[in-house]
């Protein structure tokens, strides 16, 4: 169960003919209320796709009746014509649902620079509206229709003991990056919660989950996370508890994105401790996560801590090299400015690698989730658009 888990939501995922292979490529999530509170976070990339520009605008009202999403075409770098396509898609959804276009968010993912096949999109919207359902299958269909190079749908659901719940799906297997990935995610809740509180909760949850996933440093033109609240449970949750449960859902989805990243053979957590600031911890963790020499060493199951030391030394952050400790899968390999235990003692043959860098300078820490750089990644990305 995902977006149809919480009460008040219907979803659909259909094959509109945007993808040449005939797979599902258009998803719709509808909030039947009684409330329509919503919040979103978007890519920080200056080159924003048309659907991002549109959705940022409509989200100013913190109210959404529905989200329409397509895969197979990012509708990015498509100029005013591309923006019109997004607008027309929202208008179509609004028309069929009998609401205003300003209540409809749009998300797209796929190849940059191509225009959407609008005939397929518009008739796809009609089909999707016909197929809307609150079933588990409908949620799964929607989660499936947003996939690109992902190998499987990603869904999550958490129920609070008080009777409200949060569910969601996400996609995004490459271009996963600082400040969101090529990822789209729609999260729903039947909690009774205002748009303002929802936005604050989403910012906090994203910062510690999606924002800490860094597969290849890319930041997509289309990254979008939306949360819709129906209030259908009739329960107004405590803000802190809501944020906590939302963070759990987002982390669950982020972990699934990590696990299905392009070419992944190793799941790598990089924890930076003892940093002078959280910013420093994040910056160092990300630089190590993005370093191709570290990533290829991990692919080779090689505890080459020298590359980790090299990567952290090039970060514009507070570091005293002789205080740094590098521990890989529980074995401290570097301490006091020199080799500690022998690298052969760290066993990286499994699929999970845990790197801990302790700077011994302060109290701050952060964990970045990343993957290795494998032949599979190169293969998939050297042939993607052709």
């Amino acid at each position: 169960m995902s977006v149809t888990g919480p009460a008040g939501f219907r979803a659909a995922g259909i094959a509109a003919g945007i993808k040449e292979n005939g797979n599902r490529d258009l998803a719709l999530v509808v909030n039947d209320g009684p409330n329509q509170a919503a919040a979103g976070v978007f890519t920080t990339n200056k080159v924003k796709a048309a659907p991002v520009l549109w959705s940022q605008q409509v989200l100013k009202e913190r109210k959404l009746r529905a989200v329409v999403l397509n895969s197979g075409c990012a509708n990015a770098c498509t100029g005013p014509g591309g923006f019109q396509d997004t607008h027309a898609t929202a208008e179509k959804v609004a028309e069929v649902l009998g609401v205003g276009a300003i209540e409809i968010a749009v998300c797209s993912t796929g190849l940059i620079g191509e225009r959407l096949p609008m005939k397929e999109v518009l008739s796809g919207v009609e089909t999707a509206v016909e197929e809307l359902a609150d079933s588990e299958q409908a949620g799964l269909d929607a989660a499936t229709a947003v996939l690109t190079t992902d190998t499987k749908p990603k869904q999550a659901l958490r129920k609070h003991s008080a009777g409200w719940s949060i569910g969601g799906f996400a996609k995004g297997a490459g271009m996963l990056a600082p400040n969101l990935a090529t990822m789209l995610s729609v999260v729903t809740t039947d909690a009774d919660i205002s748009g303002e509180v929802l936005e604050e909760a989403l910012r906090q949850a994203s910062r510690l989950t999606f924002d800490r996933l860094d597969v290849d440093g890319g930041t997509s033109t289309n990254d979008t996370v939306l949360v819709l609240a129906s209030g259908a449970s009739g329960i107004a949750p405590d803000q802190e508890e809501f944020t906590e449960l939302l963070t759990q859902v987002c982390l669950d989805l982020a972990r699934q994105l990590q696990g299905d990243a392009e070419g992944v053979t190793k799941l790598i957590d990089i924890t930076v401790r003892g940093a002078a600031s959280e910013d420093d911890a994040v910056r160092i963790g990300r630089t190590i996560a993005e370093d191709n020499l570290v990533k290829t060493a991990m692919f080779g199951s090689d505890p080459n801590w020298g590359r980790i030391a090299m990567a952290l030394g090039r970060v514009p952050a507070e570091i005293e090299p002789e205080k740094v400790e590098i521990t890989v899968n529980g074995v401290t390999l570097f301490a006091n400015g020199t080799q500690a235990r022998d690298r052969s003692e760290a066993d990286l043959s499994g699929s999970e690698i845990d790197i801990v860098v302790d700077l011994h300078l302060g109290e701050h820490s952060a964990t970045i989730m990343t993957t290795d750089l494998s032949h599979g990644y190169v293969e998939e990305n050297s042939a993607y658009s052709s």
Copy 2:
């Protein structure tokens, strides 16, 4: 011809037994004067190898009698013991040459975190001194002895019509990065020039050559470029002419490093024009150069300009997306915020790719030299330390 091209220099490159495969691994370049002016630029990494710490110190005098270099071991992250090894190496060279250790620079390259086999290094120094010669072969031997994963030695020589010349060698095939690569380079000249002028010329030359080579974003713990001036030609060159010729030699060597980068199948130049500042141009060029999605697309001969647009949009620099033009191998693929000519018109099947990004914002420009991300890169770097 390289370091032994200019008058007043002898060199040697021998197999000291540092590398297990028996290849040449210890090089010596001696300046016989009459002058011993010298300058150096070093890695900006905060984690600096022992030889970098040593050489930065001795270079404060702007005077060098010799440089000793080894491959097969970086002597980085080796603590006080590693620093003593560097010191002992310099002392040994000084003793055999009958000069002071403060006139001896030391460079190392290879695996991080291992100690040098000092018995081999010290007896290697004796052998190298015995083999010192001013022949072309001696220069080639030295250029060969510094190689790690490089497939061939890199040498350059330029002669000025007034009778002085500049020669040099370089190594470094991976961890090639902003602000120098894993590269060592020794450049010699028989011009009569002061250490101050030499340093200024080297800074200017590096900034436009070695500093603009970015293969994988890594910045090594050991990067070092040294210039030694013997004054043996008796000619004091015009400072501008000297800087110009030095830049030519450094560019020649940087191009050779690019051409022999790990796993390279494509030589890619990324020129950013019309930037509001040179810093912006460099930052944008580097971000595109380091982007794995751009690099893998280039490996696949795929003119996927959307990834270039994505990469430039995530740079903290002044950009107006609708003004940006992206031209790949002479074909403008993106302009006015949307697709221009069809991507199929850009032929990337050859080994050279020219990417021009015009921001249409200002007068500044920069070219970053990079390579693609291939299976060869992954292969070489996932098996390097084992």
